[in-house]
């Protein structure tokens, strides 16, 4: 850019988050001494309307052509400040952020003086980079009005139906022969005790009869390429492969039921030790009858130990099978760390069903905490009114399976309330086990490049704010792929994913990030290292030169780092820009402000 840089610096106090440690007025005065800085000011909250208005007005008043905000993290706030620049007719890529909260005030709360010096260093570095920034254009791509939904459980069915009724074409694939997922195998649903088929049945029927939905059963995703708005998926089923072009993808592939290892509570050894899921099936078939006593044990394989991220360390470089083996191995030893959310209600539901059919059967539920959140407290009370016995065992002391003198199954536990060891001879022992990540889900995660969280489930784009988005544009998650959910929660997440996907498809186009790799063809020797290293398949060697398909590029910079000829540079992160930042740190030059 030929124009002389005219930089405005805005320093945020973030209430007292920054201002309570860093001397913000001092940093502001300092910023005014840095070359190219025309204007510097500070606000209580730069992200407030007042702060943003100040930026926009200063751009006009001082004819600024670069803006630096020294505040918090670009992860949450860069889009906001970029938008403010855009509104003041400044190219949003002529904006640079300096993080003086996470990198300064929050980590050095007890040393305000050094923290202030470090804040100055960071601001100086940001200004040095800002001076060399160039305007960028965000590529706009068309978004096809069609979606691929993977998995036809309640979440996938709901998502498909929602998008179809909004007029979008939906391809719905299901690995099993029938639609309905986990819910299809359930007997009754809590808290209404409605037949699961009353929910799954109409949903399935509506999906099958909808003119906008094309269903493929016994099918799976073989391959997928492309990018937001323009995915090309190869679906494979009994009738061979089928290629479809879709604008968005919703992953609703569900999860698995944890199967206890053979021998745990004599599971797989004694045929009257079953899981809660197996009890569901037996109740459906009427195979339980009127036994004297049924004992349920909660949290079998759940809430065990700490998270062990080491199991996932190898991701994403290891192959899928190896990753899966590691996850499963770690979990087999310790169980899964999380609470599976739905097991308490499931146990109560089945206890009620048994009691309603056979009031004489003594139903005992052994638990650590009873997590009947929401309005399910009423449901829990109903079970107690039916004389289901809930016995809290001391969390650290797990129940044990023994035998009565005449060889009958017996459960021993330490009753926390009575302070006594209790023994229950039992006709059936039912283990409440968690929902766990399925193999398919991990495979899909890898194929679609959705990260896997430390709990093994697919990771959302932001745990709090973007629960059904993923970090892959145009790909959304619904149902239990992102952790245990009950039927109604899965339905809600299916609707939510459909809403997010429909925004893209309804608009018909989307802008993507301009930070991508650029090849200098004069320097490129066509070695193909970039093609090999890129996790997103963006570079391709054509006519002996690397060509970057911008839309696929996520701006990670791996290719630029790998290129032996330095033919690849990153937009917005050019070597000259980064070196200027380093130089500003190491050689503060004429202006004051020391090294820290």
């Amino acid at each position: 850019m030929e124009q002389e840089p005219r930089i405005g610096v805005f320093i945020c106090s973030c209430g007292t988050n920054i201002g309570g440690v860093v001397n913000v007025p001092e940093v502001t005065e300092y910023a005014k001494t840095i070359p190219h800085v025309i204007h510097a000011d500070h606000n209580l909250y730069t992200c407030s309307e007042a702060g943003l208005t100040a930026i926009k007005e200063s751009i006009k008043e001082h004819n600024l052509n670069r803006v630096v905000v020294a505040s918090c993290t670009p992860r949450t706030h860069e889009p906001l400040f970029r938008a403010a620049c855009r509104e003041a007719s400044l190219n949003p890529y002529l904006f640079e952020m300096a993080n003086i909260r996470e990198h300064v005030s929050w980590v050095h709360p007890h040393d305000p003086e050094k923290a202030t010096r470090k804040a100055k260093d960071i601001v100086r570095m940001a200004v040095a980079k800002a001076a060399l920034l160039e305007p960028q254009t965000e590529p706009e791509v068309e978004v096809k009005g069609s979606s691929l939904v993977i998995g036809a459980g309640v979440a996938g069915l709901t998502a498909a139906l929602s998008m179809a009724s909004q007029g979008f074409k939906v391809y719905l694939i299901e690995k099993e022969k029938e639609l309905g997922g986990i819910a299809r195998r359930l007997y009754k649903l809590y808290p209404t005790l409605a037949d699961s088929s009353e929910v799954v049945g109409p949903l399935t029927k509506d999906v099958e009869s909808h003119e906008n939905i094309e269903v493929m059963t016994s099918a799976s995703l073989k391959d997928i390429s492309g990018y937001v708005g323009n995915f090309n998926a190869v679906l494979t089923g009994p009738e061979g492969d089928k290629e479809v072009d879709v604008g968005t993808v919703i992953v609703a592939a569900g999860s698995s039921n944890y199967t206890p290892p053979k021998g745990l509570y004599e599971y797989g050894v004694h045929d009257h030790v079953i899981t809660q899921g197996e009890l569901d099936e037996k109740l459906k078939k009427g195979e339980i009858g009127e036994p004297e006593r049924i004992v349920m044990i909660q949290c079998v394989g759940a809430r065990k130990g700490e998270i062990r991220p080491s199991a996932l360390e190898a991701f994403p470089k290891s192959d899928t099978a190896e990753l899966l083996r590691k996850i499963l191995k770690a979990r087999k030893e310790e169980g899964w760390p999380y609470c599976s959310r739905i097991c308490c209600m499931n146990a109560i539901k089945n206890a009620i069903l048994i009691k309603e059919k056979s009031p004489k059967t003594d139903v005992v539920v052994l638990f650590g905490d009873l997590r009947v959140y929401k309005e399910y407290e009423d449901f829990y009370r109903k079970a107690r009114d039916l004389e289901v016995r809930f016995i809290r065992h001391i969390e650290e002391v797990r129940p044990e399976i023994t035998r009565t003198p005449d060889g009958k199954l017996q459960v021993m536990a330490y009753d926390a309330l009575a302070g006594l060891e209790v023994k229950f001879p039992a006709d059936w022992v039912v283990l409440s086990t968690p929902l766990i990540p399925s193999k398919d889900e991990i495979m899909l995660g890898r194929m679609l490049k959705i990260p896997i969280a430390t709990d093994g489930f697919l990771m959302e784009a932001h745990l709090k704010l973007r629960p059904v988005d993923t970090n892959v544009d145009g790909v959304f998650i619904a149902g239990t792929v992102s952790g245990p959910k009950d039927v109604s929660e899965s339905i809600v997440s299916g609707e939510a994913a459909a809403a997010r996907a429909s925004i893209l498809m309804g608009n018909g186009k989307v802008r993507t990030d301009a930070i991508t790799a650029v090849v200098d063809e004069d320097l490129c020797i066509g070695c193909g290292l970039c093609e090999e290293i890129c996790p997103y398949g963006a570079p391709r060697i054509e006519d002996g030169k690397s060509k970057i398909r911008e839309i696929l590029c996520r701006g990670c910079g791996s290719c630029a780092a790998e290129c032996p000829k330095r033919a690849i540079t990153m937009r917005h992160y050019g070597d000259n820009q980064l070196l200027a930042q380093v130089k500003a740190l190491l050689v503060p030059q004429s202006h004051e402000g020391g090294l820290t």
Binding site: G20, S48, S165, T192, F457, V492
Partner: protein
């Protein structure tokens, strides 16, 4: 798509519904009773279990709402009348007078600086004070002052100092009539007043506070600048207790909130960890009935709270709190579950985690909208499994905590906000087709 949609309630659920609808091409009227959007999340210090600063992740969403060309904010406004049915609702909205011209006010704050009258600051749970002309909080959206006529002494100083000439003390209520195809209710919750359980001494003992008061005390932009101090004399508390299920899971007829409020266990553990992070030598004890740490990352978080931060968990529902009048310290009397004896432990500060209850205006709003409420006064779903976000009135949907503790937390509220946007799009697409 030219149909408009009304969203009632500008908390995080209502904002998400508004943004998703607006981005889908609908014109959205976002109606908020308070002078600013933001809702409960704006009052929180950090959010569990990631410890993100609540306002920091909320503010960009608030600004997006105010800048979105398809969203029209109607703050400090209430629903007066609703007629019609799905596809064609006619809604009368009452805009309460701010006594400040929204178009002229720049939010510079000079009026508040000069105003001589103080009133309790509701946003800070009345711990601190604000002026009679004020903004709800520094990041308020819209950035427009409001005069609280009850505390105003009509001195006219604000009028004199306002550089924009925005003060208009003669402003009258204004009624607007809007045509919308669908309505989303997202009116959130209120908190049970713990003075309803006199044994805990809330309102009598200065150092017994609520969890929301604690949030404001921990928050860097709160009344104490983020310094957690004892209300009695301003000293830093060293030994703190949390009491869970204050009014929740309680069937006593004068309380009658038999449900689990769903979020208290989780935020208490978060606050306990925050306190330990603020002052590593403090001792924090949580009294609970069941530790309901469901949801992604929470069990792991509770494990960390125990092993890494040394938070003490006692499974007991305390019977009574008594105060030492000299020190203002508090003794909690409870049955120790291990020794099965009644014990007393002294604390510097006790935090009560009250039940979340339907918001005050709920019965009236339900009447206006013609929708049914459930046994506890929350919005009733058409079908709690199949259609959890559909109210009993076609075309009126619901998200967030006004549905009751169906919503665990922020991600649940956001998921529901997005989901109602889908429901509205589906229903209006059908309406358009028919």
């Amino acid at each position: 798509m030219e149909k408009a949609v009304m969203v009632i309630g500008g908390g995080v659920a209502g904002m998400q519904a508004s943004l998703d609808l607006a981005n889908r091409g609908f014109k959205v009227y976002l109606v908020e009773r308070n002078p600013s959007i933001g809702g409960r999340m704006a009052q929180l210090d950090k959010t569990f279990p990631t410890m993100d600063c609540s306002m920091c992740i909320l503010a960009p969403k608030m600004i997006e709402c105010s800048h979105h060309p398809n969203v029209q904010l109607l703050t400090y406004s209430e629903i007066k009348e609703v007629k019609g049915s799905v596809g064609n609702f006619k809604v009368k909205v009452l805009k309460k007078p701010r006594y400040v011209d929204e178009k002229k006010c720049t939010g510079c704050g000079i009026c508040s600086e000069n105003c001589p009258t103080e009133a309790p600051n509701e946003f800070d749970e009345s711990i601190g004070v604000r002026k009679a002309i004020y903004m709800l909080f520094p990041q308020a959206v819209p950035r427009v002052a409001v005069i609280d006529k009850e505390s105003c002494v009509e001195c006219g100083l604000c009028d004199k100092v306002c550089p924009a000439g925005a003060v208009n003390r003669g402003q009258q209520p204004e009624e607007v009539e809007l045509d919308v195809g669908a309505i989303v209710v997202a009116t959130g919750f209120d908190m049970f007043d713990p003075s309803g359980i006199p044994q805990y001494g809330y309102g009598r003992f200065k150092n017994v506070i609520t969890a929301m008061e604690l949030e404001r005390l921990l928050c860097a932009s709160g009344p104490t600048g983020g310094h957690l101090i004892r209300p009695s004399e301003g000293k830093i508390p060293r030994h703190l207790a949390f009491i869970q299920c204050v009014g929740s899971r309680d069937r006593r007829d004068w309380i009658n909130h038999p449900y689990c409020s769903s979020i208290c266990c989780k935020y208490a553990v978060k606050d306990a960890v925050l306190i330990k992070e603020h002052k590593t030598d403090s001792r924090v004890t949580i009294f609970y009935i069941d530790m309901r740490a469901f949801g992604r990352g929470f069990q792991e978080f509770v494990n960390r709270a125990k092993s890494e931060f040394g938070i003490e968990f006692i499974r007991s529902n305390p019977g009574e709190i008594s105060e030492d009048p000299k020190t203002n310290n508090l003794a909690i009397s409870f049955e120790d579950p291990i020794t099965r004896t009644v014990q007393n432990i002294s604390f510097d500060l006790v935090v009560l985690c009250p039940a979340l209850v339907p918001s005050k205006g709920m019965p009236e709003l339900a009447k206006t909208l013609g929708m049914e409420l459930d046994n506890y006064g929350f919005v009733k779903s058409q079908d709690s499994v199949r259609k959890p976000l559909d109210t009993t009135v076609p075309g009126i949907f619901c998200c967030g905590y006004c549905l009751g503790p169906k919503t665990g937390d922020i991600p649940d509220s956001i998921t529901q906000g997005s989901a109602t946007a889908a429901r509205v799009s589906e229903v209006l697409a059908e309406e358009g087709a028919s």
